[in-house]
Symmetry: none
Subunit: 210 residues, 4 copies
């Protein structure tokens, strides 16, 4: 029985996923043919189907892949003491991710995934869970900040997390569409936005009164 080693098996899998990523990035899921992926992977049709049951399977595997990578991204941003500083750290991590030229393909496929999530339940689950991770992280930070009196208490932690995530989603779109997206300037503005959530002296006075 010509069973290959687990390592080789995993290598082949990655080889196929990389080919798929490149193709999907260039043409989208539905304009990419299996033949394109097969050619780019250097394997055969049959081989690809040994590792993935179908094209949808491949799409979902990439969605999961992204899911896993973002989990790591988030973990990197954890562990700082000051909640506000934690938010800034998260921003820096995502800014980094947004700028990485190697990640361009992944960002583009991500956008295709956002559209695909509208009609493919598995993909949607993966995407939604993917954003639930940073959301929970942000919520935790904000709630701690509110508890410590550092962040305004009249806005929901959940809403803040959704706004911050939305900003990054929009940045991905705008960056992938055009070349003139100034990441640094936009990031600086995000910093301002976060600082805007800080408790001001006015808030304190108001609170005292209440």
């Amino acid at each position: 029985m010509p069973k290959i080693s687990d390592k080789k098996r995993e290598d082949r899998r990655q080889q196929i996923l990389e080919a798929a990523l490149a193709c999907f990035s260039a043409d989208g899921f539905h304009q990419t043919g299996m033949a394109d992926i097969v050619k780019r992977s250097g394997l055969s049709h049959g081989a690809v189907y040994l590792y993935f049951q179908s094209k949808d399977d491949l799409i979902e595997a990439l969605a999961d892949d992204r899911h896993r990578r973002e989990a790591i991204l988030n973990s990197v941003a954890q562990g700082s003491g000051d909640p506000i500083e934690g938010l800034h750290a998260l921003v820096r991590v995502y800014a980094q991710w947004l700028t990485d030229p190697m990640g361009e393909a992944r960002r583009r496929v991500g956008i295709h995934g956002w559209a695909e999530a509208l009609r493919n339940r598995r993909v949607r689950t993966s995407v939604v869970e993917g954003i639930d991770l940073p959301r929970a992280l942000i919520v935790a930070l904000v709630e701690r900040g509110q508890h410590d009196g550092l962040i305004k208490r009249d806005i929901g932690a959940d809403a803040i997390s959704r706004v911050l995530i939305a900003i990054f989603q929009g940045f991905v779109l705008q960056k992938c569409w055009g070349e003139d997206f100034d990441v640094a300037a936009c990031m600086a503005t995000v910093t301002t936005v976060i600082n805007g959530f800080r408790t001001t002296t006015a808030d304190m006075k108001r609170r005292t009164r209440t």
Copy 2:
């Protein structure tokens, strides 16, 4: 003379566009077959091709349609005196648009269009021009606000506009994916974000010192 009246002609066009919108919203551009659109429109294959040269033409027509509608949306938000109030007005208009249940299909198709924009130049042009409209509007408001000393001068007007637009793009995504997106709460937070751009007393002091 059976030459159809202009009104009837335009009605038929809308009839087809609506069918296409519904289909594209449900299945995306590439999973929707012309047969689906034909069936839903109640017309025949040939009739559809009498009004649109190809499926791509249909996609582009919808992109243009969206473009045109957003232009109206923006114009609605213009004309207020106070720049900050102008931004809030704009937010209200888009919040309205985001909440409108009739617009669900259009929002979903919009997302598919964002993905399509990555590989279809015509669609990308339409999308990019579509966001250039509100961007220019926001930039104008912010610059006026900065000139009047109402808005912080240390952040770029362009970056602010991109952040606000990104927020809305992210909101569209999050709203279309899940049912638990709290539009009101998020909008309130956007209000806070905008207020965060206001000049603070601290800013003034700093400026004086400089």
Copy 3:
């Protein structure tokens, strides 16, 4: 009842036939769409179908048209006394027809008709009858020539007629394919061919012996 005059009716018919001729000449019968003919004729779809029942009907009408024109062509060549001179006259008439720049379209459509004759009985009948006319004419001339002792008696009149007709068919093909077909030189050679059918002194001696 808005019945139009016979003359107007005939004019319209010709208008359509001319449009069809131009289209068929350029693109062949099956690559030409009714829409092309309609556009070129300046009439409407409905109008064309008032004059011709179908596209095939149009093709057949053009075949018949050609049939009729060739009948005239042949009649022109009749009536000379000397049979050999009659053949030369016929050659001159066809040479003329082959050279006429206005007839280019008709020659091209003729070729398309030859192919169509293989699968359309009506067209084949028309084509075959069309060549039967000059064939009968040539056969009559040759038989008279043979009777008068001017033309060799050991070759069939029918075969001679088929050879002469074949020569013209081939000329039409070669002329329509390329620009370097030298009509004058080829015609001169046909003259030689015809003279080759003349009885020689050798023939006469042989005959005397028999």
Copy 4:
């Protein structure tokens, strides 16, 4: 290793070409649907497109095929010493080809190709090159004959070749249209025609005088 053997591959190709030949012979290029060819070949749609990129490709492959076969035909007729005998040999070869019942389909497709050559450049090139082969052969023979004083010098070798080729083209047409085409009698007449190009005693006297 399921990579098909070269022989099997070539067999399949021929299988498809034969099916196409039969269909095109019966219905012409444009009335034949790919479905007809697919059905007749016994393969599937996809398989046919594995061997030929498009219907046009199939048409051109048949044109090239014919080109190649005629080249062989011509080579067979070469090599005789006496130029006049060479012409007669050529006539015999073509007479053979014209009579072969297996070649009926090929002759019919050939006619369709003549029409197609009017609007398809690739086909025209193939057709024109196809007749250039025997033309060059005939020209060479005739020029040798003229040099040796066996053939009249007052007619162009090129014109003679065109006449002989035209005769065969016409024969193909007439044979494919009707059942009553007497190949033997017509061929005998061609022999007479060729002999008519021989130098006569009259020619010699005239030449002497000059």
